[in-house]
Subunit: 139 residues, 2 copies
DNA sequence: TATATACCCGACTAAAATAGTCAAGTATTC
DNA sequence: GAATACTTGACTATTTTAGTCGGGTATATA
């Protein structure tokens, strides 16, 4: 089980932004430099964040991105969803009548993996961007 | 975040075995047929399970594999470890002085991912093979 | 003791996912 | 009008995953 860079970078970047006064546009270039994340990659990530109403953009000089909501109201689960990053532990299509082995109903372990999936999603559901302890000036 | 087939199949196969009387060797061929998992793939998986003292093998006709311990004493975390399957959510080398961004100490989000890693490992640590509800005759 | 069964184990490969790059554009401010 | 910075789709190298294969060895049973 591995967390991909896209999700990690997204949270890193948003955490970076949340250190600055709200309504103060932060440019991807700056985030890129501070967090050592490829600018091109950030662009890709922020496109999704914007489409999902987590940030809004300000174009032009001194532009950048701004958090659309207070970090207290941004759940990690939303960030993941924005990037199409799902927690997938079952081997089957959940709604299918068939199990992961193509047979009968669900396999012996389906219930277990389902429980795990819920367990993990629960973590993301209960964490907010504001829960990251951000001491200004750290990284 | 996705769980790979190796881990899933390993648990499936062991769950399958645990339905039979202990000391009764179960052949991979049978598991393969019942659970629709490639025999070759199972061989690969059981090699590891054996090396890690989770099962033992009985060679020859009527041979197969036998659980080395009571399912009550086999934690899922052991099964995962046996297959070299680690939960990895941080982007850095945990013991390194450098963060995932190559800079200074740990990055802004390190603590969060670390917490997640512990959280997930906790699930595997507390689940035993015997916790799978195995109604004999199901799959 | 021949034969079939079943484990043993390393090497190999196709396909999918990931991580990142690039190019050609548009809007805004100074 | 020049510089900055977002916009968007397409493209690619690398890595990981999932699975295959071949040529073994050990053992029970007939
Ligand atoms: S995981 Fe859902 S049927 Fe096997
Ligand atoms: S995740 Fe450990 S330093 Fe970034």
């Amino acid at each position: 089980m591995k967390l991909n860079t896209k999700s990690r970078y997204a949270v890193m970047a948003l955490a970076d932004m949340s250190k600055f006064p709200i309504n103060n546009p932060v440019s991807l270039r700056d985030i890129s430099l501070r967090q050592s994340i490829s600018l091109f990659y950030l662009e890709q990530i922020f496109l999704k964040l914007k489409q999902n109403d987590i940030v809004k953009s300000v174009r032009g000089t001194n532009g950048g991105y701004v958090l659309k909501r207070d970090p207290k109201n941004i759940k990690l689960s939303e960030i993941f969803q924005a990037l199409d990053q799902k927690v997938k532990t079952v081997g089957c299509k959940k709604d299918s009548k068939k199990g992961c082995n193509g047979k009968s109903a669900k396999c012996i372990t389906h219930e277990l993996w389902d429980e795990l999936e819920i367990y993990i999603n629960n973590f993301f559901e209960n964490k907010k961007l504001s829960d990251l302890s951000l001491t200004r000036g750290n990284n």
